[in-house]
Symmetry: C2
Subunit: 306 residues, 2 copies
């Protein structure tokens, strides 16, 4: 059986003011063909087209907080989804005031949206399960920023056990029992003999996980929510030359992001949300490398297989 | 003296849903180094950067109406102007509800704008002077669309008279009198003799004009406002295959735009606001050509010297 998808596409890597190269925050996560759009800065719909994604497949949009560079692309995307004939429900996970803004814009522009939107308002305490199905679960957790802000944690559900094909014939297992084997059950074979699951299967890969942390001050309280994830996206708006400014504006430096990654023992760290003042983002890699050694830089169009 | 600038830069040529090639409505007009941003669809600030304009020089933003594809780029642009240190006043000409939307977004995101914004609310009757200085005057006028919508008319002020340099010496005119000659006055020369203005100067070029009409149903009532302009931008959302749809949605076809241009006896017609359903915009040119023969197609990045 082919491994299910767990892929992240970067749509925007810039902080507040976009540059000619970098767009405001947005990422598209595919977990087993469930598509999650995480933040939706201005021009996200244009990025989604540029990278040839099928944006009608997005059934979940998660907005971390209500600074413009994280949500101003939403009204236009909702309208385009409507204009292009969407009928199926869309789920939006966000702070409550976002609904007020969208309602206001749609009312003033006399815009009707011909598909149902289900709003899920995020909370400012603890880890909260906000979505779950047979393949994936999604949680929100609070972050320390200038305004109410949450991170998001995506975890695969435990994968089915892997069947050792060579043993199926040896133990005379019927095809009908393969499903039960994957679930971890023992079975009775064609000869009427009980066969233990562990004699026929091997452990599946560990469920994979991704945590999204944008925007936040350096905050060790985050560590408990993101412990051991396969990929951590942690904002790094500034370099150390602006550490004071990072603190004042409730943002992080590349070094601070790396230290959080190390404390949380994550497998890989993805940096992004770069201030427009830095023309060369390799400097973020240089600053973070001494503190954490499995690093990636978010750049528009980059695809990361988790 | 060099002719003063009168130049239009197209930032977006698409109607409601942008495509991978076309952005929502926005145009930047330079009249004698006064910069007017006309409509501000999503990602306008990114387009302004892409085409290397100095967006802090924009002191006037005009919004025709409150469909998202004409204003959703404004909140982000206002924020970026602030982040990049703007101090000088910005004038916004728009329907009143736009201020409510901007106020709501800025309040929810705790965004402070550190420069003054002066709001000028457009009216739904007649030709209204909304801006004037020594070089240019700008008027708004009502258009027939689904919601309240105005067009804009830009006219150069009469240009100074042109001085015939060869005659200055012949008639012994002092340098100090050149200014008075430009204004059209007669002068007394160095020999104490009165010299008529018309003996020293020639007529300046005619003041130029540009009219912006987006979005509108086919509407001959427009003609009186845009009569004889040097350049008319008139929306052409559809081709004739969708004439019925154009009427239902209060938009125009390319043929209808050309007919308005002919009735108004304008010098040149610029088409734009193309529906995403048309991959090849040359079809707009083909449809309009039999009805008007000095035609341009709006495309992103196109600069038109008026």
């Amino acid at each position: 059986m082919q491994k299910q998808n767990f892929e992240l596409l970067i749509l925007g890597s810039s902080s507040a003011a976009p540059t000619s190269q970098r767009n405001p925050s947005a990422q598209l996560l595919n977990v087993a063909e469930r598509f999650f759009l995480i933040d939706c800065g201005e021009a996200t719909q244009i990025q989604l087209r540029k990278y040839k994604t099928k944006f009608q497949k997005i059934d979940h949009i998660l907005i971390s907080h209500l600074h413009g560079d994280h949500f101003l692309g939403l009204p236009g995307l909702l309208s385009s989804m409507h204009l292009l004939g969407r009928k199926q429900e869309l789920n939006i996970y966000c702070p409550p005031e976002l609904k007020e803004i969208i309602d206001k814009i749609n009312s003033v522009s006399d815009t009707r949206i011909n598909y149902p939107i289900k709003w899920h308002f995020t909370k400012n305490k603890g880890l909260n399960l906000i979505f779950e199905d047979d393949k994936v679960e999604v949680h929100s957790f609070p972050m320390k920023h200038r305004i109410f802000c949450t991170g998001f944690l995506f975890k695969e559900k435990p994968l089915p056990r892997k069947i050792d094909k060579f043993k199926l014939e040896k133990y005379k297992v019927s095809v009908a029992d393969i499903h039960n084997l994957r679930k971890g059950e023992d079975i009775i074979n064609e000869a009427g003999k009980k066969i233990k699951n562990k004699d026929l299967t091997i452990d599946p890969s560990e469920p994979r996980s991704f945590a999204y942390c944008s925007d936040t001050i350096y905050d060790v309280d985050l560590v408990k929510f993101i412990k051991g994830v396969d990929l951590l996206y942690h904002e790094s708006t500034f370099l150390n030359d602006k550490e004071k400014r990072a603190q004042e504006t409730f943002h992080s430096t590349a070094e601070q992001a790396a230290k959080i990654a190390k404390l949380a023992k994550v497998k890989q760290l993805l940096l992004g949300h770069y201030s427009a003042r830095y023309p060369d983002i390799d400097d973020f890699l240089k600053e973070a490398s001494p503190f954490f050694n499995n690093l990636l830089l978010a750049t528009e169009g980059k695809k990361i297989v988790i």
